[in-house]
């Protein structure tokens, strides 16, 4: 029989960063204009749509760039055009 020490099943513990630091996949970075996204009546559509759950639900909005893949959905959905995707150098 096999002497392979690899476990037979793939399991992991649910935790932040369990799928790796996905921020290094990014080629564009979201920049928030905090003037346009006011704290009083903001919609949080970006938070709702973000597929990686890296946008804070508190104001001022913060994006966790360690895991943000730069997909741009937040910028696309923002009704006030308060998020701009900027090319990474």
């Amino acid at each position: 029989m096999s002497k392979n020490s690899t476990p037979i099943r793939t399991v992991s513990t649910p935790a932040e960063g369990e799928a790796g630091k996905t921020g290094d996949w990014r080629s564009q970075t979201p920049k928030i204009d905090h003037e346009k996204c006011s704290q009083k009546d903001s919609c949080l559509l970006c938070w709702l749509y973000c597929p990686d759950g890296v946008i804070s639900a508190t104001f001022p909005l913060e994006i966790n760039l360690t895991y943000c893949k730069g997909c741009g959905i937040c910028a696309e959905e923002c009704p006030r055009k308060a998020i701009e995707m900027v090319d990474d150098k």
Binding site: M1, S2, N4, T6, P7, I8, R9, T10, V11, S12, T13, P14, A15, E16, G17, E18, A19, G20
Partner: protein, 395 residues
């Protein structure tokens, strides 16, 4: 010695599942597998079998259900045929990758289009690269015995197994079967030890995204990459030939019957000409060999019981001493040849003494093939090799 009953292979498979005390069954009816699902449903309804029977809308969901149940530690069973098996294709890979010890009865039927409900082995052969073990049965006795063996093997090495038997020829034909007693099966197959690690309290990801290279998990432990898991599967399925052999020997000690492990021979001791086949067709080949022997031809049968993992060294050993080897199979890899002949030829490349190899495709979609036709076709190959010929076909 158990109780002799006159039953079909489908009933044998259903009784075997009950004897193995399966805990979760999920299956979608399809001809010729349907009676297996009906009989098990009746057993669960009457309370004779204490199991959860999950009715589903498709074969994909049937296999998904038993994968999930198996992942949390239940002994599970499903069954299918033909297009139903093809519909499971994605979940077949998922089951093998999840390393769950599922046993599935595959009642071999030709695949559409055009529709056929009759027998050939194209359905399971088309699933050979999914990481499952495939065992092919000659008769209903072998079906009931192989089912019981399959749970032992699958649970030992944590790889799912297809127990394949020919539609209608076996699935709907009643023959005497020695049905083992429950207490003997219980001794041979202890209740399943839960190795899932799932306790319902500690959250865990099962089959999470795995990247190409090993990398630390959230706790800093270095986790293998995708290729490491797949390499482990390949090593374990190759290594399972040993387990298949030892479980068959142990089965013989308990029940008095051996099915040859991965490969069986018939009159191979002094054979000069071998016929190689699988399933009920291989059984029919023994009748052809009896006829050839009566005509003075020293023929024998090599029956391939386990097709994946491919028992190459056993096949090479049996075929190295013969002058010719003639393959009969009920499948074809379209655009090349019969799958069994292809695999065996590749195995024989390793051997210095290679027989002349001929191959036939027979019996697709239930086309009848008789022992005397197999004998006649073999005689042709004794005189000179026949390359990939379709028997009993016009056009």
């Amino acid at each position: 010695m158990g109780q002799i009953e006159i039953i079909t292979a489908n009933t044998a498979a259903a009784i075997a599942a009950k004897l193995c005390r399966v805990q979760v069954i999920s299956a979608y009816p399809i001809t010729p597998q349907t009676p297996v699902t009906e009989e098990l449903a009746a057993m669960v309804e009457s309370g004779d079998l204490k199991a959860e029977y999950i009715t589903v809308e498709s074969e994909h969901s049937a296999l998904a259900s038993v994968v999930a149940a198996s992942q949390v530690g239940a002994r599970v069973f499903t069954a299918t045929s033909a297009n139903g098996l093809l519909y499971m294709h994605e979940m077949l890979h998922w089951a093998a990758g999840s390393r769950v010890p599922i046993v599935m009865a595959c009642v071999n039927r030709g695949v559409g289009a055009p529709w056929t409900i009759l027998n050939d082995q194209q359905d399971t052969i088309a699933q050979r690269d999914t990481g499952w073990i495939q065992m092919y049965c000659r008769n209903s006795q072998e079906v009931i015995d192989t089912m019981i063996q399959a749970y032992r093997i699958a649970e030992q090495i944590q790889i799912p197994i297809m127990v394949c038997y020919d539609g209608f020829i076996l699935s709907h034909a009643s023959t005497p079967v020695d049905v083992p007693f429950q207490d003997e099966v219980d001794r041979f197959l202890p209740s399943l030890e839960d190795r899932s690690g799932i306790d319902g309290k500690t959250p865990m990801n099962v089959n999470p995204l795995i990247l190409s290279d090993p990398r630390p998990d959230a706790n800093g432990v270095l986790m293998p990459g995708y290729m490491e898991f797949r390499y482990r599967l390949q090593q374990d399925i190759l290594g399972s030939l040993e387990a298949i052999q030892s479980v068959d020997s142990e089965f013989q000690d308990t029940f008095g019957r051996s099915w040859g492990g991965s490969v069986w021979g018939y009159h191979m001791d002094d054979a000069e000409h071998a016929i190689v086949s699988m399933g009920s067709l291989a059984s029919e080949c023994t009748v052809a060999v009896d006829q050839l022997r009566s005509e003075g031809i020293k023929a024998g049968v090599v029956g391939v019981r386990v097709y994946r993992p491919f028992p190459s060294s056993q096949i090479v050993e049996l075929l190295s001493g013969v002058r010719t080897a003639t393959f009969f199979e009920k499948d074809v890899s379209y655009g090349y040849q019969g799958a069994l002949a292809m695999d065996a030829k590749a195995a024989m490349y390793e051997s210095k003494s290679r027989p002349e190899i001929s191959s036939y495709v027979v019996g697709l979609g239930g086309r009848d093939v008789r022992p005397e036709q197999l004998a006649e076709a073999t005689l042709k190959c004794v005189k000179g090799p026949v390359q990939h010929c379709w028997l009993n076909v016009s056009g």
